[in-house]
Symmetry: C2
Subunit: 348 residues, 2 copies
């Protein structure tokens, strides 16, 4: 259980994934009921026919959200969604959540009610029971920690490690919107700071603002896959950016990938707003994060079932590991995928 | 889902239990698998033969711990114990935990390793698998949120609401020690601030310091009860102080209580240290908290099985609700029990 002595190492050197990998290296699993520990969207516990799927996420003020422009009710809603998304990414149905938060005395009861009512709204919309939690005080900012519990039959659960050569890589919805919504909000915050009399200019940006402030979890996609009788071979939700998630799937499945830039689904508003900010729209989709879409691989035999469905886009195919993990750009050049991600630990 | 409009209410007016009660009033449970939601030591989810028991706790720097005198390894250990204790309080066996924490950049990797190694030590000692979590950055202090998952057969689970008239009220171990340990640490911190050259005077206080810094969860008690073939009628762990926990049991079981002051188990070191601080030792046991002992009620027919066991003390008996909830003092006078508790929300 001893860690190697590494004297005084700054956390930013490791990054979030590096830190998790380092810390979890000594974990041993002893219970036969523990089917899956760290390393997927959720842990899996055996309960006979149905397996229990559990995931937890922590949201910290100033790191994951800025109360200058995030309404508390939206924050409550989103904090639940983020967790439900992890359960759906296991192809499971979320059923219960536990909610903990630490609040400073600058919050009134009414503020906490707003936050909580957003959480309850998400519970109602996704038919999830809020069954417990903890409420405490903090000396500074707001911290929210949510644990989501779901269930699925053993045989339909989808892990990150099942992608096979020649599988198709699919993604639901479109990408990069949440990130561009954040850029708009950050810009208007800067403008407001410089001149508090100016009204924020959010006109016509509804879609990407909603992607950032009030995302949804893709329950519908999980249901649709079931309806189509498609069992994905691997799946993950897009929380840190497409590139980072693809690399998770490839690394755990021990395969390569060929991703086609021209296939990456980007909404016109996302595209135009990225251009407005002098950003590469593809890079926003690859590294933006917080889209909460589902990224999954399917057997090529399932192609006919989905080729005409607007909810999915086939963006690449799984290759042998030796072929590497690459994106074929619109001009035909090939670039290795990098996990730039939305690395919370590097943001200060 | 709307809360009554109450304009600007300070949270300190409600207190922690008031806030929880207020917020959870609109919760509806819809899943047949949700057996128990908020209001007990843990939530309970039906999985056929075995039921899943889940509990979560959040620990916040400056509120629940002070890194001036709490070693990080002890903190990691204790943060796990606090959660396992809730699972034992359901008469269940903890099997998995999820660990989330938010850390500021002032922590080095080595500091996080210390914290984590304490968590893994607790996992090893209590045979619990660490199966997931989340790691993020914070802008100020350290926040730890742990979710513990356990299992128990439906028929042996113990809730807070099963205490019946004439049941005996029992507690494991002794009480008030963790609180007196905290007083010692706080005193030495003050001394150190005034004169950093002085060495802390902790001599002879080992037991109560350990109660505060490195508490254990009473796995042994749960096993002993099973061995003795005793099924408690209600149970709770002592985290907020004896008085507060007794009132939880009484309120949820809809019964009264007669508690005998002279029966409350207090270690001589706790007693003498309380006197040293001009504190009433009984009050320290009633309101001190953080003892993580198990408080439970048993049928009077089980009395013979436990009367000679040093691990338990019978401290009172359950009465009809009309008789109230009282403590009979050493001088024979009767005092209504008050939940002073260790109200984190009133501590600023």
């Amino acid at each position: 259980m001893d860690f190697e002595n590494t004297s005084h190492t700054e956390l930013s050197k490791l990054g979030e994934f590096g830190l998790i990998k380092h810390l979890t290296q000594h974990i041993e699993l002893n219970h036969p009921s523990t089917i899956k520990g760290v390393g997927d969207d959720a842990a899996v516990i055996d309960n006979g026919n149905l397996q229990t799927v559990i995931s937890t996420d922590m949201l910290v003020e100033g790191v994951h959200f800025d109360l200058t422009y995030v309404p508390l009710k939206h924050l409550g809603f989103k904090s639940v969604i983020v967790n439900l998304s992890d359960i759906y990414a296991m192809n499971a149905e979320p059923k219960q959540i536990l909610v903990s938060f630490a609040i400073s005395s600058r919050f009134t009861l009414e503020a906490v009610e707003e936050l909580y009512s957003g959480m309850l709204l998400a519970c109602k919309k996704y038919n999830v029971d809020l069954v417990g939690g903890d409420t405490t005080t903090s000396q500074s900012g707001l911290v929210i920690s949510i644990t989501a519990i779901g269930a699925a039959p053993k045989e339909t659960l989808v892990y990150r490690d099942g992608a096979k050569e020649s599988n198709l890589l699919c993604v639901s919805g479109d990408l990069g919107g949440a990130y561009m919504g954040l850029q708009i909000l950050e810009r208007e915050k800067t403008v407001f700071k410089e001149n508090p009399k100016l009204q924020p200019d959010l006109e016509g940006k509804d879609y990407i603002l909603e992607r950032q402030l009030k995302p949804e979890a893709r329950k519908d996609i999980v249901e649709l896959l079931k309806h189509l009788n498609i069992q994905p071979t691997s799946m993950i939700d897009v929380s840190d950016g497409l590139s980072s998630e693809i690399l998770h799937l490839c690394s755990q499945s021990n395969v390569g990938i060929e991703l086609y830039e021209e296939k990456i689904p980007i909404d016109p508003l996302t595209y135009n707003t990225a251009r407005e900010f002098n950003l590469d729209p593809t890079l926003c989709a690859l590294s933006g994060g917080e889209d909460y879409e589902l990224l999954f691989t399917i057997d090529i035999g399932d192609y006919d079932k989905i080729k005409h469905l607007p909810d999915f886009t086939i963006i690449g195919h799984i290759t042998n590991i030796e072929k590497g993990r690459n994106m074929v750009a619109k001009d035909g050049t090939v670039h290795p995928l990098k996990a730039q991600g939305w690395n919370a630990l590097l943001k200060k």
